[in-house]
Symmetry: C2
Subunit: 207 residues, 2 copies
């Protein structure tokens, strides 16, 4: 059994990243895949489950984990910590499980430095008009609110070329097929196949 691959997935809000990752996990039961679950010190909200939505931990423990260099990246937002556990990810990769890490371009840079074998995917909306339509989901947001979201989206988009792969989410089914093709192709890289087919290769090459 070879190691799994860590996939860094980034996108501006409105590009459909979460829907694509969910659809990927639902429609690919034969592949071993998981979404990375972050650690946080914020309180659990109704409907949330520990270990599913977040690993909920106390602030003291989080700061201890920071000191032990257990996070691939972390950030403090409004007094709460959020971080990506190196141990959790490596345990899953060692089991041959591919892990998806949903993170912005800044987090992606930190992860790439520490996990150079990670592959990164950026998801783009098909146009400004469509992006604006998707960002104005409730159809009643103020122009100022939408303008702010658009500016944030453009800032994220400006980093697309730092990623290995770029998917344009115009047609959802087509974008999902792109996503699946990337995962399938990465599993065909020679080192992954050498691990998966070790016994067969040994037999093929035996005298």
């Amino acid at each position: 059994m070879g190691k799994g691959t860590l996939y860094i997935v980034s996108a501006p809000s409105g590009a459909g990243k979460s829907s694509l990752i969910s659809a990927m996990l639902e429609t690919n039961p034969t592949y071993a895949m998981k979404v990375s679950v972050s650690h946080t010190t914020r309180g659990m909200r109704p409907g949330e489950q520990d270990g599913v939505h977040y690993h909920f931990v106390q602030k003291e423990l989080f700061e201890e984990l920071i000191e032990q260099n257990q996070f691939l990246e972390y950030a403090e937002v409004f007094g709460n910590y959020y971080g990506t556990s190196r141990v959790w990810i490596e345990e899953n990769l060692d089991k041959g499980i591919d892990v998806f890490l949903d993170i912005d371009w800044q987090g992606a840079r930190q992860i790439r430095e520490q996990m150079p074998l990670a592959k990164s995917i950026f998801i783009l909306p098909p146009s400004n008009g469509e992006l604006e339509r998707r960002l104005n989901t409730r159809g009643q947001d103020s122009e100022a609110v939408i303008a702010k979201r658009m500016a944030e989206a453009k800032s994220e988009i400006s980093h697309y070329s730092e990623y290995d792969y770029v998917i344009v989410n115009d047609d959802f089914d087509n974008a999902l097929m792109d996503f699946k093709a990337i995962i399938r192709a990465e599993r065909l890289k020679h080192d992954k196949q050498a691990a998966k087919y070790k016994g067969m290769l040994d037999a093929l090459l035996a005298e």
Copy 2:
């Protein structure tokens, strides 16, 4: 329009390489793809067409092309030259066409040196037993002939790890899906997408 990708495809006899390449071209009419057509100085055989099976040229012209460094690789076999034209391949890549180059591991090494952006794919048979069955196609070859083919196949297989991707051709449809996933994923690499969606990206990133 971005540039096409050169795919080096190698396999031992009996792995199903030609069938996979043919099926790929037939079932993917929306992708621009071609198989590289070699130059040769040997005579045309009944049923062969110039420019389809080979580019048939005179020995004097071939040697002139060698001197002009027009071949990515060439070899002399039983007094006839066979070679892969750099110009033909680059013209097609420039048009955004993916080119498949069916070649052995030695030719693959020469191509990789001169075309570092080429991607390479190795196709494996699923087992020795299946390989032997496929090599004994007429069911009446002598043991010595089959043993010689098996030895050649093993020699080729021993170079599989020099390739970017490895496909195991156990189930043909599955192997074809692997092949398609590789081509699709390579077209999602950020530089290919940046070229394909240049107008859209410029608009997304405009102030």
